[in-house]
Protein backbone atom coordinates (compact mmCIF):
# COMPACT_ATOMS: atom_id res chain seq x y z
CA UNK A 1 0.00 0.00 0.00
CA UNK A 2 1.39 3.42 -0.92
CA UNK A 3 2.08 5.76 1.93
CA UNK A 4 0.56 9.03 0.75
CA UNK A 5 0.27 11.40 3.67
CA UNK A 6 -1.89 14.45 3.90
CA UNK A 7 -0.16 17.33 5.67
CA UNK A 8 -2.68 19.66 7.28
CA UNK A 9 -2.77 22.37 9.95
CA UNK A 10 -5.05 21.15 12.73
CA UNK A 11 -5.60 21.40 16.47
CA UNK A 12 -4.65 18.48 18.68
CA UNK A 13 -8.33 17.84 19.25
CA UNK A 14 -9.01 17.55 15.53
CA UNK A 15 -5.94 15.32 15.10
CA UNK A 16 -7.15 12.94 17.82
CA UNK A 17 -10.75 12.97 16.53
CA UNK A 18 -9.44 12.15 13.06
CA UNK A 19 -7.49 9.19 14.45
CA UNK A 20 -10.72 8.03 16.11
CA UNK A 21 -12.55 8.40 12.77
CA UNK A 22 -9.94 6.20 11.11
CA UNK A 23 -9.98 3.63 13.93
CA UNK A 24 -13.79 3.70 13.82
CA UNK A 25 -14.43 2.05 17.20
CA UNK A 26 -17.67 0.12 17.71
CA UNK A 27 -18.67 2.29 20.67
CA UNK A 28 -17.77 5.78 21.89
CA UNK A 29 -19.37 7.04 25.10
CA UNK A 30 -18.36 10.52 26.18
CA UNK A 31 -19.35 13.56 28.17
CA UNK A 32 -18.00 16.96 27.14
CA UNK A 33 -15.54 18.79 29.40
CA UNK A 34 -13.15 21.63 28.60
CA UNK A 35 -10.60 21.26 27.00
CA UNK A 36 -11.55 17.78 25.71
CA UNK A 37 -14.83 19.09 24.22
CA UNK A 38 -13.70 19.61 20.59
CA UNK A 39 -12.61 15.95 20.34
CA UNK A 40 -16.15 14.86 21.16
CA UNK A 41 -17.64 17.57 18.91
CA UNK A 42 -15.57 16.54 15.90
CA UNK A 43 -16.29 12.88 16.49
CA UNK A 44 -20.03 13.44 17.04
CA UNK A 45 -20.09 15.17 13.65
CA UNK A 46 -18.48 12.12 12.01
CA UNK A 47 -21.22 9.98 13.57
CA UNK A 48 -24.03 12.39 12.59
CA UNK A 49 -22.74 12.61 9.00
CA UNK A 50 -22.57 8.83 8.70
CA UNK A 51 -18.80 8.93 8.14
CA UNK A 52 -18.35 6.28 10.84
CA UNK A 53 -20.68 3.49 11.96
CA UNK A 54 -19.70 3.94 15.61
CA UNK A 55 -22.47 3.70 18.21
CA UNK A 56 -22.13 6.99 20.08
CA UNK A 57 -23.62 7.20 23.57
CA UNK A 58 -24.06 10.74 24.91
CA UNK A 59 -24.04 9.85 28.60
CA UNK A 60 -24.95 12.01 31.61
CA UNK A 61 -21.53 12.04 33.30
CA UNK A 62 -17.97 10.79 32.99
CA UNK A 63 -18.69 8.08 35.55
CA UNK A 64 -21.30 6.83 33.11
CA UNK A 65 -19.01 7.35 30.11
CA UNK A 66 -16.36 5.02 31.54
CA UNK A 67 -19.02 2.60 32.78
CA UNK A 68 -20.54 2.45 29.28
CA UNK A 69 -17.21 1.76 27.58
CA UNK A 70 -16.39 -0.88 30.20
CA UNK A 71 -19.71 -2.59 29.43
CA UNK A 72 -19.15 -2.28 25.69
CA UNK A 73 -15.61 -3.63 25.90
CA UNK A 74 -16.74 -6.56 28.05
CA UNK A 75 -19.40 -7.28 25.45
CA UNK A 76 -16.62 -7.57 22.88
CA UNK A 77 -16.66 -4.12 21.28
CA UNK A 78 -13.73 -1.82 20.53
CA UNK A 79 -14.63 1.10 22.77
CA UNK A 80 -13.20 4.57 23.34
CA UNK A 81 -13.89 7.73 25.31
CA UNK A 82 -12.02 10.97 26.05
CA UNK A 83 -11.92 13.31 29.02
CA UNK A 84 -10.06 15.93 31.07
CA UNK A 85 -9.36 16.81 34.70
CA UNK A 86 -12.51 16.68 36.82
CA UNK A 87 -14.12 14.38 34.28
CA UNK A 88 -11.26 11.93 34.75
CA UNK A 89 -11.57 12.34 38.51
CA UNK A 90 -15.27 11.53 38.31
CA UNK A 91 -14.39 8.42 36.29
CA UNK A 92 -11.75 7.39 38.83
CA UNK A 93 -13.66 4.43 40.31
CA UNK A 94 -14.34 2.91 36.89
CA UNK A 95 -10.85 3.78 35.59
CA UNK A 96 -9.48 1.23 38.07
CA UNK A 97 -12.18 -1.26 37.10
CA UNK A 98 -11.37 -0.95 33.38
CA UNK A 99 -7.74 -1.86 34.10
CA UNK A 100 -8.63 -4.61 36.56
CA UNK A 101 -11.01 -6.20 34.05
CA UNK A 102 -8.18 -6.00 31.49
CA UNK A 103 -10.31 -4.13 28.95
CA UNK A 104 -8.35 -2.65 26.04
CA UNK A 105 -10.00 0.79 26.11
CA UNK A 106 -8.18 3.76 24.56
CA UNK A 107 -8.83 7.16 26.12
CA UNK A 108 -7.32 10.46 25.05
CA UNK A 109 -6.90 12.64 28.18
CA UNK A 110 -6.58 16.35 27.49
CA UNK A 111 -4.54 17.34 30.53
CA UNK A 112 -6.04 20.04 32.70
CA UNK A 113 -5.56 21.13 36.32
CA UNK A 114 -7.80 19.44 38.85
CA UNK A 115 -10.06 21.68 40.96
CA UNK A 116 -9.89 23.48 43.24
CA UNK A 117 -9.86 26.34 42.93
CA UNK A 118 -11.48 25.67 39.60
CA UNK A 119 -9.19 26.09 36.61
CA UNK A 120 -9.52 24.89 33.01
CA UNK A 121 -5.88 25.17 31.89
CA UNK A 122 -3.08 22.70 31.46
CA UNK A 123 -1.22 20.77 34.07
CA UNK A 124 -0.70 17.06 34.72
CA UNK A 125 -2.50 16.70 38.04
CA UNK A 126 -5.38 14.81 36.36
CA UNK A 127 -3.12 12.15 34.79
CA UNK A 128 -0.93 11.83 37.90
CA UNK A 129 -3.98 11.09 40.05
CA UNK A 130 -4.46 7.98 37.87
CA UNK A 131 -0.86 6.83 37.71
CA UNK A 132 -1.48 3.83 39.96
CA UNK A 133 -4.77 2.85 38.30
CA UNK A 134 -3.21 0.20 36.06
CA UNK A 135 -3.54 2.13 32.78
CA UNK A 136 -0.69 2.55 30.34
CA UNK A 137 0.07 6.29 30.13
CA UNK A 138 1.55 7.89 27.01
CA UNK A 139 2.36 11.62 26.82
CA UNK A 140 2.43 13.55 23.54
CA UNK A 141 4.71 16.50 22.84
CA UNK A 142 3.00 17.51 19.59
CA UNK A 143 -0.31 17.13 17.77
CA UNK A 144 1.40 14.62 15.48
CA UNK A 145 2.31 12.49 18.48
CA UNK A 146 -1.22 12.76 19.89
CA UNK A 147 -2.56 11.50 16.53
CA UNK A 148 0.07 8.76 16.24
CA UNK A 149 -0.33 7.56 19.84
CA UNK A 150 -4.11 7.30 19.50
CA UNK A 151 -3.59 4.86 16.61
CA UNK A 152 -0.67 3.01 18.20
CA UNK A 153 -2.49 2.72 21.55
CA UNK A 154 -5.19 0.53 20.01
CA UNK A 155 -2.66 -2.14 19.12
CA UNK A 156 -0.83 -1.87 22.44
CA UNK A 157 -4.04 -2.11 24.50
CA UNK A 158 -5.36 -5.08 22.54
CA UNK A 159 -2.15 -7.14 22.42
CA UNK A 160 -2.83 -10.55 23.98
CA UNK A 161 0.10 -10.25 26.39
CA UNK A 162 -1.01 -6.79 27.53
CA UNK A 163 -4.80 -6.32 27.52
CA UNK A 164 -4.67 -3.07 29.41
CA UNK A 165 -6.36 0.28 28.78
CA UNK A 166 -4.27 3.19 27.51
CA UNK A 167 -4.45 6.92 28.25
CA UNK A 168 -3.10 9.15 25.49
CA UNK A 169 -2.21 12.37 27.29
CA UNK A 170 -2.05 15.68 25.43
CA UNK A 171 -1.62 19.08 27.04
CA UNK A 172 -4.87 21.02 27.42
CA UNK A 173 -5.22 24.05 25.09
CA UNK A 174 -1.48 24.03 24.25
CA UNK A 175 -2.04 20.97 22.05
CA UNK A 176 -5.81 20.42 22.09
CA UNK A 177 -6.57 23.94 20.80
CA UNK A 178 -3.18 24.85 19.31
CA UNK A 179 -2.79 24.48 15.55
CA UNK A 180 0.22 22.58 14.21
CA UNK A 181 0.99 20.77 10.97
CA UNK A 182 0.03 17.09 11.23
CA UNK A 183 0.53 14.36 8.66
CA UNK A 184 -2.57 12.20 8.41
CA UNK A 185 -2.07 8.69 7.06
CA UNK A 186 -4.47 7.16 4.54
CA UNK A 187 -7.62 5.67 6.10
CA UNK A 188 -7.03 2.20 4.69
CA UNK A 189 -3.47 2.12 6.05
CA UNK A 190 -4.67 3.02 9.57
CA UNK A 191 -7.49 0.48 9.36
CA UNK A 192 -5.05 -2.19 8.25
CA UNK A 193 -2.66 -1.31 11.09
CA UNK A 194 -5.26 -1.40 13.86
CA UNK A 195 -6.96 -4.47 12.36
CA UNK A 196 -9.89 -6.22 13.99
CA UNK A 197 -10.29 -6.52 17.75
CA UNK A 198 -10.02 -10.10 19.00
CA UNK A 199 -12.23 -9.90 22.08
CA UNK A 200 -11.50 -12.03 25.15
CA UNK A 201 -14.49 -13.68 26.83
CA UNK A 202 -17.04 -11.44 25.03
CA UNK A 203 -20.39 -11.31 26.81
CA UNK A 204 -22.18 -11.37 23.48
CA UNK A 205 -20.79 -14.84 22.74
CA UNK A 206 -23.84 -16.57 24.21
CA UNK A 207 -22.52 -19.99 23.17
CA UNK A 208 -19.85 -19.56 25.85
CA UNK A 209 -21.46 -17.89 28.85
CA UNK A 210 -19.04 -16.11 31.19
CA UNK A 211 -19.29 -13.95 34.29
CA UNK A 212 -17.72 -10.48 34.40
CA UNK A 213 -17.23 -8.57 37.64
CA UNK A 214 -17.87 -11.27 40.24
CA UNK A 215 -16.92 -10.76 43.88
CA UNK A 216 -13.21 -11.50 44.26
CA UNK A 217 -12.14 -11.85 47.89
CA UNK A 218 -8.97 -12.78 49.76
CA UNK A 219 -8.77 -16.08 47.89
CA UNK A 220 -8.17 -14.67 44.35
CA UNK A 221 -8.00 -10.81 44.32
CA UNK A 222 -4.24 -10.90 45.05
CA UNK A 223 -3.65 -13.30 42.10
CA UNK A 224 -5.57 -10.98 39.76
CA UNK A 225 -3.41 -8.02 40.87
CA UNK A 226 -0.30 -10.13 40.18
CA UNK A 227 -1.59 -10.70 36.64
CA UNK A 228 -1.96 -6.94 36.15
CA UNK A 229 1.64 -6.42 37.32
CA UNK A 230 2.76 -9.02 34.76
CA UNK A 231 0.77 -7.34 31.97
CA UNK A 232 2.50 -4.01 32.72
CA UNK A 233 5.83 -5.81 32.65
CA UNK A 234 4.91 -7.30 29.26
CA UNK A 235 4.36 -3.77 27.85
CA UNK A 236 8.14 -3.34 27.98
CA UNK A 237 8.53 -6.21 25.52
CA UNK A 238 5.45 -5.59 23.37
CA UNK A 239 5.67 -1.81 22.93
CA UNK A 240 8.95 -1.79 20.95
CA UNK A 241 7.53 -4.49 18.63
CA UNK A 242 4.39 -2.47 17.90
CA UNK A 243 6.40 0.76 17.61
CA UNK A 244 8.63 -0.97 15.03
CA UNK A 245 5.61 -2.04 13.01
CA UNK A 246 4.24 1.50 13.32
CA UNK A 247 7.51 2.87 11.96
CA UNK A 248 7.51 0.40 9.05
CA UNK A 249 3.91 1.32 8.23
CA UNK A 250 3.85 5.06 8.81
CA UNK A 251 7.49 6.12 8.92
CA UNK A 252 7.58 7.54 12.45
CA UNK A 253 9.78 6.11 15.18
CA UNK A 254 8.59 5.86 18.77
CA UNK A 255 10.13 4.42 21.91
CA UNK A 256 9.73 4.72 25.69
CA UNK A 257 11.68 7.97 25.75
CA UNK A 258 13.12 10.41 23.23
CA UNK A 259 16.71 11.51 23.86
CA UNK A 260 17.56 14.90 22.37
CA UNK A 261 21.21 15.91 21.85
CA UNK A 262 22.16 13.48 24.58
CA UNK A 263 25.32 11.94 23.03
CA UNK A 264 27.89 13.86 25.08
CA UNK A 265 25.46 15.81 27.29
CA UNK A 266 26.65 16.44 30.84
CA UNK A 267 23.39 18.01 32.00
CA UNK A 268 20.06 16.48 31.04
CA UNK A 269 16.53 17.78 31.53
CA UNK A 270 13.64 15.30 31.87
CA UNK A 271 10.01 16.28 31.22
CA UNK A 272 6.60 15.16 29.93
CA UNK A 273 4.46 16.60 27.16
CA UNK A 274 4.52 19.79 25.10
CA UNK A 275 7.12 21.58 27.27
CA UNK A 276 9.72 19.38 25.59
CA UNK A 277 9.45 21.58 22.48
CA UNK A 278 10.51 24.62 24.54
CA UNK A 279 13.24 22.57 26.21
CA UNK A 280 14.68 21.52 22.82
CA UNK A 281 14.71 25.18 21.74
CA UNK A 282 16.73 26.11 24.85
CA UNK A 283 19.01 23.07 24.43
CA UNK A 284 19.80 24.27 20.90
CA UNK A 285 20.60 27.78 22.18
CA UNK A 286 22.85 26.49 24.96
CA UNK A 287 24.59 24.07 22.59
CA UNK A 288 25.39 27.03 20.31
CA UNK A 289 26.90 28.73 23.34
CA UNK A 290 29.06 25.64 23.90
CA UNK A 291 27.30 23.99 26.83
CA UNK A 292 26.96 20.21 26.83
CA UNK A 293 23.24 19.93 27.55
CA UNK A 294 20.50 17.62 26.34
CA UNK A 295 16.99 16.53 27.15
CA UNK A 296 15.05 13.33 27.66
CA UNK A 297 11.38 13.29 26.84
CA UNK A 298 9.26 10.69 28.61
CA UNK A 299 6.83 9.25 26.06
CA UNK A 300 5.65 6.45 28.32
CA UNK A 301 5.09 7.27 32.00
CA UNK A 302 3.33 3.99 32.93
CA UNK A 303 4.86 1.52 32.87
CA UNK A 304 7.83 3.69 33.85
CA UNK A 305 10.85 3.09 31.56
CA UNK A 306 13.28 2.59 34.42
CA UNK A 307 15.89 0.54 32.53
CA UNK A 308 16.06 3.06 29.66
CA UNK A 309 16.53 5.93 32.12
CA UNK A 310 19.25 4.09 33.99
CA UNK A 311 21.11 3.41 30.78
CA UNK A 312 20.75 6.95 29.44
CA UNK A 313 21.35 8.90 32.65
CA UNK A 314 24.07 6.87 34.36
CA UNK A 315 27.26 8.94 34.57
CA UNK A 316 25.78 12.34 33.62
CA UNK A 317 26.91 15.24 35.78
CA UNK A 318 23.37 16.33 36.55
CA UNK A 319 19.74 15.50 35.82
CA UNK A 320 17.03 18.10 36.29
CA UNK A 321 13.40 17.03 36.29
CA UNK A 322 10.45 19.26 35.41
CA UNK A 323 7.06 18.35 36.88
CA UNK A 324 3.72 19.86 35.86
CA UNK A 325 2.09 18.36 38.96
CA UNK A 326 2.86 18.07 42.64
CA UNK A 327 2.42 15.40 45.26
CA UNK A 328 1.59 17.30 48.43
CA UNK A 329 3.87 16.18 51.22
CA UNK A 330 6.15 14.16 48.95
CA UNK A 331 8.37 14.61 45.90
CA UNK A 332 6.78 15.54 42.56
CA UNK A 333 5.67 12.44 40.58
CA UNK A 334 8.14 12.46 37.68
CA UNK A 335 11.05 13.53 39.90
CA UNK A 336 10.25 10.78 42.37
CA UNK A 337 10.25 8.17 39.60
CA UNK A 338 13.50 9.43 38.04
CA UNK A 339 15.24 9.69 41.41
CA UNK A 340 14.12 6.20 42.35
CA UNK A 341 15.38 4.77 39.03
CA UNK A 342 18.80 6.39 39.52
CA UNK A 343 19.36 4.89 42.98
CA UNK A 344 20.74 1.78 41.34
CA UNK A 345 23.08 3.29 38.74
CA UNK A 346 26.87 3.14 39.17
CA UNK A 347 27.55 6.87 38.73
CA UNK A 348 24.65 8.84 40.14
CA UNK A 349 24.16 12.34 38.72
CA UNK A 350 23.32 15.37 40.85
CA UNK A 351 19.57 15.88 40.88
CA UNK A 352 17.22 18.85 40.79
CA UNK A 353 13.42 19.02 41.07
CA UNK A 354 11.46 21.85 39.44
CA UNK A 355 7.68 22.31 39.51
CA UNK A 356 6.21 24.48 36.76
CA UNK A 357 3.06 25.38 34.89
CA UNK A 358 0.40 24.53 37.48
CA UNK A 359 -3.04 25.66 36.35
CA UNK A 360 -1.70 26.70 32.94
CA UNK A 361 1.04 29.07 34.17
CA UNK A 362 3.33 29.79 31.20
CA UNK A 363 6.66 28.02 30.98
CA UNK A 364 9.16 30.21 29.12
CA UNK A 365 12.59 29.63 27.60
CA UNK A 366 14.15 31.83 30.32
CA UNK A 367 12.74 29.50 33.01
CA UNK A 368 14.31 26.49 31.33
CA UNK A 369 17.58 28.36 30.81
CA UNK A 370 17.63 29.16 34.55
CA UNK A 371 17.28 25.45 35.39
CA UNK A 372 20.13 24.52 33.04
CA UNK A 373 22.24 27.30 34.61
CA UNK A 374 21.59 25.80 38.05
CA UNK A 375 22.76 22.45 36.68
CA UNK A 376 25.83 23.86 34.92
CA UNK A 377 26.84 25.86 38.04
CA UNK A 378 26.39 22.84 40.32
CA UNK A 379 23.66 24.71 42.18
CA UNK A 380 21.42 21.69 42.79
CA UNK A 381 20.03 20.19 46.00
CA UNK A 382 18.32 16.83 45.60
CA UNK A 383 15.88 17.43 48.44
CA UNK A 384 14.88 20.95 47.46
CA UNK A 385 11.78 21.39 45.29
CA UNK A 386 12.03 24.59 43.26
CA UNK A 387 9.35 26.48 41.33
CA UNK A 388 9.38 28.08 37.89
CA UNK A 389 7.27 31.17 37.17
CA UNK A 390 5.92 31.39 40.72
CA UNK A 391 5.71 34.75 42.48
CA UNK A 392 7.73 34.41 45.70
Amino acid sequence: MERVVERVAVTGAEAVANAMRQIEPDVVAAYPITPQTPIVEYFARFVADGVVRTEMIPVESEHSAMSAVVGAAAAGARAMTATSANGLALMHEIVYIAASYRLPIVMPVVNRALSGPINIHCDHSDAMAERDSGWIQLFAETNQEAYDFTILAVRLAEHEDVRLPVMVNLDGFILSHGVEPVEFYPDELVKKFVGELKPMYPLLDTEHPVTWGPLDLYDYYFEHKRQQIEAMENVKKVFPEIAKEFEETFGRKYWFVEPYRMEDAEHVMVALGSTNSTIKYVVDELREEGYKVGSLKIWMFRPFPKEQLQELLNGRKSVVVLDRAVSFGAEAPLYEAVKSALYEVAARPMLGSYVYGLGGRDIKPEHIRKVFEDAINGNLIADEQRYLGLRE
Binding site: S100, Y101, R102, L103, R163, M200, Y201, H208, P209, V210, T211, W212, G213, P214, D216, D219, Y220, E223, H224, R226, Q227, E230, A231
Partner: protein, 99 residues
Protein backbone atom coordinates in the same frame (compact mmCIF):
# COMPACT_ATOMS: atom_id res chain seq x y z
CA UNK B 1 -11.69 -26.71 46.15
CA UNK B 2 -7.94 -26.22 45.66
CA UNK B 3 -6.82 -22.67 44.91
CA UNK B 4 -4.94 -21.91 41.69
CA UNK B 5 -1.91 -19.74 41.02
CA UNK B 6 -2.09 -16.43 39.13
CA UNK B 7 -0.79 -18.18 36.02
CA UNK B 8 -3.65 -20.68 35.96
CA UNK B 9 -6.71 -18.40 36.09
CA UNK B 10 -8.41 -16.26 33.43
CA UNK B 11 -7.40 -12.58 33.46
CA UNK B 12 -9.66 -9.77 34.61
CA UNK B 13 -11.47 -11.77 37.26
CA UNK B 14 -13.59 -13.38 34.54
CA UNK B 15 -15.26 -16.69 35.34
CA UNK B 16 -14.99 -18.50 32.03
CA UNK B 17 -17.75 -21.09 32.42
CA UNK B 18 -21.29 -21.13 33.79
CA UNK B 19 -22.62 -22.80 36.92
CA UNK B 20 -19.48 -22.45 39.03
CA UNK B 21 -21.41 -21.08 42.02
CA UNK B 22 -22.23 -24.71 42.87
CA UNK B 23 -18.56 -25.29 43.65
CA UNK B 24 -18.48 -22.39 46.07
CA UNK B 25 -19.75 -23.57 49.45
CA UNK B 26 -20.98 -20.36 51.01
CA UNK B 27 -22.05 -22.33 54.09
CA UNK B 28 -18.46 -21.80 55.28
CA UNK B 29 -19.40 -18.18 56.07
CA UNK B 30 -21.89 -19.34 58.75
CA UNK B 31 -21.47 -18.23 62.35
CA UNK B 32 -24.85 -19.44 63.67
CA UNK B 33 -26.25 -22.86 62.68
CA UNK B 34 -29.99 -23.52 62.41
CA UNK B 35 -31.12 -26.70 64.23
CA UNK B 36 -34.55 -28.20 63.50
CA UNK B 37 -36.73 -29.47 66.38
CA UNK B 38 -38.96 -31.63 64.20
CA UNK B 39 -41.41 -32.38 67.06
CA UNK B 40 -42.52 -28.69 67.03
CA UNK B 41 -42.56 -28.32 63.19
CA UNK B 42 -45.96 -28.14 61.40
CA UNK B 43 -44.48 -28.14 57.85
CA UNK B 44 -45.98 -24.72 57.12
CA UNK B 45 -43.04 -24.06 54.73
CA UNK B 46 -42.53 -20.47 55.92
CA UNK B 47 -38.80 -21.25 56.33
CA UNK B 48 -38.62 -22.67 52.79
CA UNK B 49 -40.39 -19.58 51.42
CA UNK B 50 -38.22 -17.04 53.23
CA UNK B 51 -34.76 -18.67 52.95
CA UNK B 52 -32.69 -16.38 50.65
CA UNK B 53 -30.28 -19.21 49.78
CA UNK B 54 -32.78 -22.02 49.05
CA UNK B 55 -31.06 -23.97 51.81
CA UNK B 56 -34.21 -25.55 53.32
CA UNK B 57 -34.60 -29.18 52.28
CA UNK B 58 -38.21 -30.24 51.75
CA UNK B 59 -39.69 -33.36 50.19
CA UNK B 60 -43.37 -33.38 49.18
CA UNK B 61 -44.19 -30.50 51.49
CA UNK B 62 -42.39 -32.04 54.46
CA UNK B 63 -39.59 -30.00 56.11
CA UNK B 64 -36.48 -32.24 56.16
CA UNK B 65 -33.70 -29.96 57.41
CA UNK B 66 -30.98 -27.67 56.04
CA UNK B 67 -28.39 -27.72 53.28
CA UNK B 68 -25.40 -26.66 55.34
CA UNK B 69 -23.22 -26.31 52.22
CA UNK B 70 -25.12 -23.14 51.35
CA UNK B 71 -26.91 -22.01 54.55
CA UNK B 72 -25.12 -18.78 55.62
CA UNK B 73 -26.77 -18.83 59.04
CA UNK B 74 -28.77 -15.62 58.60
CA UNK B 75 -31.50 -16.87 60.93
CA UNK B 76 -34.46 -15.67 58.84
CA UNK B 77 -36.00 -19.18 59.01
CA UNK B 78 -35.86 -19.21 62.82
CA UNK B 79 -37.34 -15.72 62.89
CA UNK B 80 -40.36 -16.49 60.69
CA UNK B 81 -41.09 -19.94 62.22
CA UNK B 82 -44.51 -19.63 63.96
CA UNK B 83 -43.70 -22.60 66.28
CA UNK B 84 -40.11 -21.73 67.26
CA UNK B 85 -39.08 -25.08 65.78
CA UNK B 86 -35.74 -23.70 64.54
CA UNK B 87 -33.00 -22.84 67.00
CA UNK B 88 -29.87 -20.87 66.08
CA UNK B 89 -26.74 -22.27 67.77
CA UNK B 90 -23.12 -20.98 67.53
CA UNK B 91 -20.93 -22.87 65.05
CA UNK B 92 -18.24 -23.12 67.74
CA UNK B 93 -20.37 -25.78 69.44
CA UNK B 94 -19.96 -28.05 66.40
CA UNK B 95 -16.22 -27.62 65.82
CA UNK B 96 -15.18 -30.79 67.66
CA UNK B 97 -17.63 -33.09 65.92
CA UNK B 98 -16.32 -31.99 62.49
CA UNK B 99 -12.67 -32.29 63.47
Amino acid sequence: MSLKSWKEIPIGGVIDKPGTAREYKTGAWRVMRPILHKEKCIDCMFCWLYCPDRAIIQEGGIMKGFNYDYCKGCGLCANVCPKQAIEMRPETEFLSEEG
